[in-house]
Subunit: 346 residues, 2 copies
DNA sequence: TGCAGCTACGCAAACGTTTTCGTGTTGACA
DNA sequence: TGTCAACACGAAAACGTTTGCGTAGCTGCA
């Protein structure tokens, strides 16, 4: 087994100095053509590749960006990552992943682990626990040390950094407007508790759409789901709530859910109660994922363009790293949403 | 903005040498208690953290493992990653991700990018194109340079390295046996072309199960899907094939598909043709994902225990890195599959 | 007083690179 | 023959650590 070859080894072998080898490989005309070709041939033969770590140490940059997300087994986040990876790779950067699993502690540990020189900057989506605790010291420290952060999707407004968000309010307004325009009169909303920013904004969009159509919102049509670590339990509780809602409010003819799973769950219950989708009840979900595409009937959704979010985040971070933009100027990019009409709307 | 503080800066500030600072921080009793406490207090105040890159260079190990997968927007792979990440983190390692997008070139580039000192070892699943081309030089080179590789799921048998695979044959045999035991007589198989190892093995399991039940396989019941970069097209073609199959073979009462999406597609067509699931036709899919769990009716599947695969892969790699096992001894771990009975089987 | 031995620290090398600067040799030209 | 430029290369520093070894200064004992 031949170990990795270094400049020093080449130098020794060819009886020249390390600096000569280095210069020869970079084709410096300081070195005679003779020596250059000799060195280059030797390097090629032994498959020489400069050691990245040494370069990082010397250049004070690693050409690696750190991504911290709450979970990876999630269509949205994995799409964002693929966007980040695409843009990063095309600009010569690597991507290193940390998972917070929605835990504050793991988020802090991951950030500390990566902030000590391993990476040049962060792209992250804040964990739910952090949002709940409102403890942002780790973000402040990182930024203070001169390491740029780009937050996406779940951001903290009060922190001065670049952000990429989707227009949650407008997106859900689009969805609800679509339902209204197609003739729905009594639209139920399935959302999360308000402390999840995203849930709150999407609720606002729902309300605004109703208002524009001069429809008075009824709180009895709104389910605010309490999130649970155990998804099974969360969904079971939701099933009961939806079932009760449909039993009580017989006039419901539209459902808007802030995520795919809630929408699928609602659809399941509705179907089991004999409703025809979309004739009796139309359904739209926020977040476009695999479930929506392949459910039967396939679900109409608001797409968040996750890949684009990832690309945009990476672009913003790398631009900052390469000083293509001013360091102290922060910017928030809003990604548009798109209504994808499938088979649960008329 | 206070930049990252280094040993040198602390040394200068406290008017001692760098080595003294280093030793003081590591609590070497070579240094007086006085100096130690002084240095430690100062370091704490300025939030000193040793630079990882410098450590990596010195120690010749990065405590980072590279993972290369064909795609990340895929339930199975993202689950594997979460398993890797969990095990790696708990042992103090970082995880850096590369995506090959099923392309040979991207796989090679990713490996070369990471192999130059950025990581200590690889965990990877081979891209389809590589399997097709059968060009494995990049794997050989990496291993030759002394960098260990663990392959999972899509492995290359002829390469000497650790492997983690699922028992594809036994898994699909379990599925088909279940169908047979529940009374199915004419079981269709939806699989991939044989050059995808996984598809081949799963086909074998199907055949073995039939054989054990003294049922003669009929090639007219088998659909071998030609994979397509464009999933939409692939699925559309599949829809037509399934439709034709069901029209021609009226006696089909069971379907086994080698992945979720094929199963869902089959189910969709069957339902549209008026079949009752599972009364008229039972369905089982390999690979347990979100689709199966939340489809209506929910799909019975063979679970591959992806998280466990990830954990196991990481364990094997790190054990090798930390020389807890012999370097030249390679081992193939077989992960068990489990039948998860849901609503598409009787 | 002289010396052994201990304490507490600094020096320097090492990891692999890149780059600046210095220098020996050669050749040309006055 | 003397001077100078051009050429081709080497030495050394730098990035931030860790660690083996050397040593100055002191204490204590003969």
């Amino acid at each position: 087994m031949k170990r990795k070859v270094t400049l020093k080894q080449i130098a020794r072998e060819l009886d020249v100095s390390v600096s000569t080898v280095s210069k020869a490989l970079r084709n410096s005309k300081e070195i005679s053509l003779d020596t250059r070709t000799k060195v280059q041939a030797f390097a090629k033969l032994y498959n020489y590749r400069p050691n990245n770590i040494a370069l990082s140490l010397k250049n004070k940059r690693t050409k690696t960006i750190g991504v911290i997300i709450p979970e990876i087994v999630h269509h949205f986040f994995s799409k964002v990552i693929s966007g980040i990876e695409k843009e990063a790779n095309s600009r010569g950067y690597n991507v290193i992943i940390g998972l917070s699993n929605e835990s504050f502690d793991k988020e802090v540990i991951n950030i500390e682990m990566l902030a000590n020189g391993s990476i040049d900057g962060f792209i992250l989506s804040v964990s739910k626990e952090t949002l709940l605790l409102q403890d942002y010291h780790h973000f402040y420290e990182t930024i203070n040390q001169g390491m740029p952060i780009v937050m996406f999707d779940r951001v903290v407004n009060e922190i001065a950094c670049d952000k990429v968000v989707v227009d949650d309010k407008l997106g859900s307004k689009k969805a609800v407007t679509k339902l209204l325009d197609s003739g729905c009169k009594n639209i139920a909303l399935i959302t999360t508790k308000d402390y999840v920013n995203v849930g709150k904004l999407r609720t606002q969009g729902y309300l605004e759409a109703l208002e524009e159509h001069k429809i008075y919102p009824k709180s009895s049509l709104i389910i605010k789901v309490e999130e649970n670590k155990d998804k099974e339990v969360e969904i079971e509780t939701l099933e009961e709530e939806i079932s009760a809602l449909l039993d009580k409010e017989k006039t419901i003819d539209g459902i808007f859910a802030v995520n795919e799973l809630y929408a699928i769950t609602a659809m399941k219950i509705a179907i089991s109660k004999g409703y025809k989708i979309p004739d009796d009840i139309s359904i739209i979900a926020f977040t476009d994922g695999v479930l929506s595409k392949h459910s039967i009937p396939s679900l109409s959704t608001i797409s968040q363009h996750a890949v684009e979010m990832g690309e945009k985040s990476a672009t913003m971070l790398i631009d900052k790293l390469e000083e293509l933009v001013e360091e102290e100027k922060y910017h928030t990019e809003v990604i548009n949403t798109t209504l994808i009409e499938r088979d649960t709307t008329r």
